[in-house]
Amino acid sequence: MTHDPTFWLLARASGLTAYALLTGSVLAGLVVKSRPFGRAVKTASVTDVHRFLALLALGMLVLHGVSLTLDRTVHMPVAALVVPGLSAYRPGSVALGVLACELAALIVVSFSVRRKIGARNWRRLHWATYLIFAMATAHGLAAGTDSTQPWAFGLYLGAVGAVAFATAWRALTSPTRPTPVPVRERST
């Protein structure tokens, strides 16, 4: 019987898509804070995009994990999706992906308990997004079988470059002061 590649293709595609969505969410989050487009882009809309992309990334990670367990190429047990280090296939780099995913889920959940933990702790926890992004990049490069392909490497390079640029932009602009809106110019 020949090996059906459906789940293997799905696992690779969903992993790369999750990474692209995570990158998009990080960029949108940085735009919320640094407001590079001024009043041309509504903060509320960017916040919605930021949250939506983060949720979509988590959903895509579920698909990534499920398709890996259903495929026979790398023999991924379900426990290895939850406990870092249990994967026989590249255990270190898979562990990075598992930890990044769990941390990302924690950050998404933290919004619901922001009153309980306080805004300051919520913001501190949000800084872990940079760690998640770094871990996801390392996981993708080291565990992904497409990483040697120029297009895949280009995706990682582009994502890291875009996040680095947006982070530099944020650091160079006032972090807390939004563009003042003259009262008389309010649009309806």
Binding site: A44, T47, P178, V183, R186
Partner: protein, 65 residues
Amino acid sequence: MYRIVIDRSLCSGFGACAELAPEIFEVDGGGLVSLRVGTSSDAAVLDAAAACPMAAITVVEEEAA
């Protein structure tokens, strides 16, 4: 009439509210949002409350005095 309450412990100064209802919300010198007025009949306060990334704005509908 809407009574507006800002939870300043949650406010992180994103300014989405001041963008949508600048007559009511303003970002103060400390980078947090302050109220220009305590109550308003402008339905924009509802949009502003919904737009707050931290959900720090509560709007209570009250009977006009």
